[in-house]
Subunit: 329 residues, 2 copies
DNA sequence: ATCATCTACTCAAACGTTTGCTTTATCTGT
DNA sequence: ACAGATAAAGCAAACGTTTGAGTAGATGAT
């Protein structure tokens, strides 16, 4: 049987209210009774029912997090940041993965609100899905893409700038025929990274060759197969800009299989700086995103909104991380 | 303002009960009223309050998951499995990371129960922390270590067998001076893997050398530093059994830095078969654990318990995965 | 015409808390 | 001895649902 406040009250011949006040350290109870209540509560193994508490208190002290994937270490690092923040603020976290399904994402958002969570942190499956205030009626922060909707906070890295840095770096190294290996075509990050890539090429007097660009998924396999297709069609390619570290690992895998020397014959650069990129036998040159900080800020922004502040935005500056897959020549 | 069942009832001149029954497709309402209710509900943007629902219904349709870490891909893969199961069963998931702190773990377990979750899936920080039924009064499944307490379900891989296979494999290859690079000394998986290692050595007529064994943490850095220390003290070592893939990656990192050839000069084997181990330039020979299935089963076991079955246990058989860090010689 | 049955609906209690208001008892100062 | 203040406790409503029991009216069988 589950112990309630009622049981404690009966055992001591008190009213519910007194027990409640005693347990919550509120005024109106004598020290004597307070002690007695605390003792009985612990003896009986009383554990307050948060559901009831939240119902009357209008707050569940819970936030919801919806991410598309968790195996991708970019997301697990972001999640880590979010959870750290939540833990410090004493909020619990309901976690859902949409598995890159827009429908699931929507369903989760609805369900979370039924649970009367205090706010949502969301990374959309498709960055161009627009949510109205009717869809998300609680404070919300959207990760990694600017929403045209100013009801929501957002945090992202400057993808365009990052891509600019990456492409310039490849050109600086002396690579001349740079390919772009994309992820989902309608992912905002991918669009912006591609844009930065294309702009730098043009402004530096290089030709933008359509057949050196391809899109796919944000997976290693997709990177592998895209690279294969690109390279077979355009053997003059001498560098690959993967729109993602995971994709770039696929690029490297292909090149490794073909026994093509990196960075001598071909340069490779990624984006994200996931932990793995730093591994000695990989050493992927990449553009770093502060994943943990992104998660942290996402939480902080949400927390501010929950406290009543208007939605803000945070944009992180990406940085070039030099490793072994690119070299001046 | 938040819309409640009351608003709908007033608008239609009905009682709460009828509205409730209409929305839940229960008998006792005419088709006509049901349609009217549904329409008004959708017009007003009604979203049922799960808190209230759970309070009366005695079930929150939520499970809690407590893991020590999320960056380690072993855990994120397990989590993925859990979430898949939960999603299919229409249960939501509250997720907490204990960050390898026993106190946090205990606190989370208590908090989760206050939220009246239906069950807990737990991977302990310290595998020898015993929980009583007073600590965990809801159905629970403990991952990756046998609890002496039969109140809880558990799922684990046969660590002893896995270590046996790993050590035998190294001996079969012809390595003779095998070191053991451990994780936390009081982690059950680590203890069992070490035990398997020691037993095989002895039963095969090899000496168990204390100075070829060390313990540390389940991190790459720890693996790196342990290897360094072991190797400096015992340069005759010709193979490393990392009690974990992540640790083994640290081993490889050190060997790579020292330009020692793997597998020619030194053999390396891991345990877990995380995704990364399969990466071409790494190719770690290892013992595979079906991480996703572990998560899945953990959820399934919990689900059965929630439905009323007694706690069961599932033990997975580990398998040798041959890659490039070991070779017959 | 009478009774039973069914349908559509309402009433009110219950879930376990919190909290504003009221009551009772004790203490203080005159 | 008495008003007034203070402290400790109780009462009851509220949070938003679900649900068993009750009711009024219609339908049907005898």
């Amino acid at each position: 049987m589950v112990i309630t406040i009622k049981d404690i009250a009966e055992k001591l011949g008190l009213s519910y209210s007194s027990v409640s006040r005693a347990l919550n350290n509120k005024a109106g109870v004598s020290d004597e009774t307070r002690k007695a209540v605390v003792k009985v509560a612990s003896d009986l193994g009383y554990s307050p029912n948060e559901l009831a508490r939240s119902l009357v208190g209008k707050s569940s002290n819970t936030i919801g997090v919806v991410l598309p994937d968790i195996k991708n270490s970019y997301f697990s690092e972001v999640l880590q940041g979010i959870l750290e923040g939540a833990s410090e603020a004493n909020l619990t976290c309901v976690f859902c993965i949409s598995n890159w399904s827009k429908d699931r994402e929507k369903q989760y958002i609805a369900e979370l609100q039924q649970k009367r969570i205090n706010g949502i942190i969301l990374k959309r499956t498709n960055d161009y899905t627009e949510y109205t205030q009717k869809d998300i009626a609680v404070p919300a922060v959207i990760i990694e893409n600017r929403s045209s909707d100013s009801h929501f906070g957002y945090v992202e890295v400057d993808n365009h700038l990052g891509a600019t840095i990456a492409t310039k770096h490849l050109l600086d190294c002396g690579y001349k025929n740079i390919a772009f290996v994309g992820g989902l075509k309608n992912a905002r990050s991918c669009v912006l990274r591609h844009k930065g890539y294309a702009e730098v090429l043009k402004s530096s007097g290089f030709e933008y060759v359509k057949e050196r660009v391809s899109f796919g998924e944000f997976t290693l396999d997709s990177g592998y197969h895209q690279t294969k297709a690109l390279f077979e069609k355009r053997p003059e390619i001498d560098a690959f800009f993967g729109s993602n570290d995971v994709i770039s690992l696929g690029v490297l895998k292909y090149l490794h299989e073909r026994q093509i020397h990196v960075p001598e014959q071909i340069g490779v650069i990624g984006f994200d700086n996931i932990q793995l990129s730093d591994y000695p036998t990989i050493g992927l040159t990449t553009i770093s995103q502060p994943t943990n900080s992104i998660g942290r800020s996402a939480f902080n922004l949400l927390y501010e909104q929950i406290q009543g502040s208007p939605p803000h935005r945070v944009i992180f500056q990406p940085e070039l991380v030099l490793r072994g897959t690119t070299r001046k020549r």
